[in-house]
Amino acid sequence: MMTSTDFSAFFGRKRGRNGFDWTDALAYTYLVIGILIVLLPVVWMAVSSVKSQAALGENDPRILPYDQALVTPPNGGRPLGVFTLTRENGTVEEVALVAPRGANALVYALSKPNETFEVPRKSLTRKDVLQPHFENYTDPTIGQASTFKFLRYFWNSTFVTVVATLLTLLTNAMAAFALSKYKFRGRDAIVLIIVATLLIPPTVILVPLFITVQSFGLFNSLWGVIIPAVATPTGVFLLRQYMLTIPDELLEAARMDGASEWKIFWRIMLPLALPALAVLAILSVIWRWNDFMWPLIVLTQSEVFTLQLGLSTFKGELNDNMHYLLAMTVLTLLPVTLVFVFLQKHITTGIANTGLK
C-alpha cells in the first residue's frame, strides 16, 4: 500500500527543480480537467442513483438527494406537501398545502392542524428534506414486483464474460503461439490479415455475422454472443508480440526433454506469457461485460438478457425509470471496476512489456 509520503511525492511531482514551473501548471491543469471529464459523470450517476424519481424528473441540480417534506393530514388520507410560509411581517411558519385556490393556497399550520386558512402562493416556499432512496437499488434486485430480473441478467452477463474470456485466452494464445514460434509459408501474410481486420468497423459485419449466427441456431442463445467474440485481432497480435520475446531455446530445450508441442504450449509458453494473458483477460472482461450492440441483436428474450440489455428496458417509449436505471448502472459498473482496480498494475506492466500502446 502507498504511505502518505508516497502520495504526497506522487501528487506533488513537478518538473521545476525548485518551485513550480509553468509547465507544471499546464500539466496539472490538463490532468485536473481530464479527471473531471472522466469522473464527473460517474460521480453524478452514483449520487443521482439514490434520488427519487420525482427529483430526477424535475432535473434537480442539487448534488444531494432532496425530496419535498410530506406530512399526513390529521384526518388521514393522501400525504400533503410541506411549505415554509413567510408572512409580510417577517414571521416564518411551516404549513401543509391542502389545495390551491387560484393565486392563493389553502394551508394549515403544522402546529395547528385543524385550522385551515388561505395565503398567497407567492409567500410559500417548498420545504425539502434530505432523503436518499435506497429502494432504487432494492426494488429491481430483491423486490418482487419488478420486471427487471437482476440476478438472471447478472448470471447471464457473468456467464458470457467468463466463458468468452476463457475461450478468447485459449484460442488467441494458440494462434499467437503458431504465428510466433512456427515457421511456415504465408505466416507473415496471415498476421497482416489478422491485424488488418482491426480496420473493419464492427457495424459493417453486423448483418453477415447475424446471418451466420442465426444459421447455426444460436439466435437467442448466450453462445451466440460468446462465440463470435472469441477470436480478436487485438488479442492475437498482443500475445504474438509478447511470445516473440520468449527465447526459442526454451522451446528447443523442452523438445530435447521429450515434450510434445501441446505440452510445450501448455507448460512452457502459457506460463511465460502470463503477463500478456493477464492484459488480454482484463480487456476481454471489460469488452464482454460492457458489450451492448451485439447482445441487443442476438438476444430478444428477457430470459437471456445480459445486464446491459436489462438496463435498456428501464428507458422505454412509455416509461422512464431513470432512478432504477441509474442505480442498476452503478451495480453493473462495480464488477469491472473491481477487476480493473485489482489488476490495473498488470495492465500497465503488461502493455509496457508487449510494446503496445
Binding site: 530445450a253 526433454d257 507448460r267
Partner: protein, 365 residues
Amino acid sequence: MATLSLKAVTKAFGPTKVIHGIDLDIAHGEFIVFVGPSGCGKSTLLRMIAGLEDVSTGDVEIDGAVVNAIPAAERGLAMVFQSYALYPHMSVKQNLSFGLENLGTPKAEIARRVDEAARMLRIEPLLARKPGQLSGGQRQRVAIGRAVVREPKIFLFDEPLSNLDAELRVQMRIEIGNLHQRLGNTMIYVTHDQVEAMTMADRIAVLRDGRLEQFGKPLDLYNRPANLFVAGFIGSPRMNFLSGKIAGVGANSVDVALDGGGTVSIPCAPEGAQPGEAVKFGIRPEHIGLTVNGAGDAALAVTLTEQLGGESYLHGALPSGETLSMRLAGQTRVARGDSIGLTLGEPGFRHLFHTDSGLAFAPLA
C-alpha cells in the same frame, strides 16, 4: 550403447549452404569436440544431430538406424544449451524432472534420479529455487543436471562454458570431464576454444566453413596437422608459417629455401614435391630455440617480450619482414630491439604445407 554416424550430411538454409557434406563416425563412450571459428557450422551440425534442424541431404544414424525423420523429442538425446535455457517459471527440481515426466517415468524413479543428479552436481540446496535466483555457475550445473537425469544415449553440449568467467570455466571443464568418466556416455561438445577442445576431447573434429578439416586425437592434430588451417588453429600461440620454395627433394625429406634466407630440411614423405614449388614451412613457437652467439637458422629483431614468469614469449620480425613468435621456458633478458639468433626446431617438429592447397606433406610414420 550409442554410436553416431554422419553420412555425407549437408545443410542449406535456402540458397545458402552451410554444411558441405560431412562424414563422421563416433563410437560409444567417446568424448568428441567440434571446434572451429564462429560461423563454421559446428553448432548447426550439433543441432542436426539433436534433431532441432532438418538434414538437407545425407543421413544421421544413431546406433545404426537413420533418424533423419525422427523428431528431437524422440531421439533420446539430451542437450545443454549455451544460454542454459532453463525454464524460468519452474523451480530447479521441476526443471530437472520435466523431461522425465514427459517420458512417463514413475514418480519415485523421478525423485531418485533427481536426487542423484543433484548430489552429483552439488545443487541439492538449490532444488527449491527458481533459475533467476542462481549464479551463472549454478545455472550451468542445473542445465547439465537436466541432461544427466534423462540418462540419454548421447549428451550434446553447445558452447556450455562460454558465459562463465575464466576461473569457473576451468573448474567446469574438469567437472564435465569427470562426469564423462563416471557416466561413460557418448558426449559431443561444441566450442570455439581450442584449449577446451585439447583438454577435454578424446577426438576433435576441426570444422571450417561447413567442412570437416581434420578429425583425430588432440595430440595427433597438434603433432600432425593435416593442413594449414588445422596447424594454425590448434596450439596457442599459433604455429609460425614461413614462405619458401622447395630447393631439393630427398628420399625421406624435403629441403626448403626460405624466402627470408636460409634453408631447412623437413623429414616427410616427399610425394608430389616439385623443386621450385611455393610451400609454407611451419614451426611452433615452443619448438624454436635461441642460439647463444646470435648465429643459427634465422635472425629475429625482437619487437615484444611477454614475461609470464614460468615462461616467456618473444615476438619479432625476420629480415624478410615475416613475423615470428617463440616460447622460452623460464624468464629471459631479451628485450625489445634486441636481435637474436634462432634454430628452427628439431627436424621432427617441422611441418611443411603446399601453399596452393594448404595440405600438409605427410609426416613420416
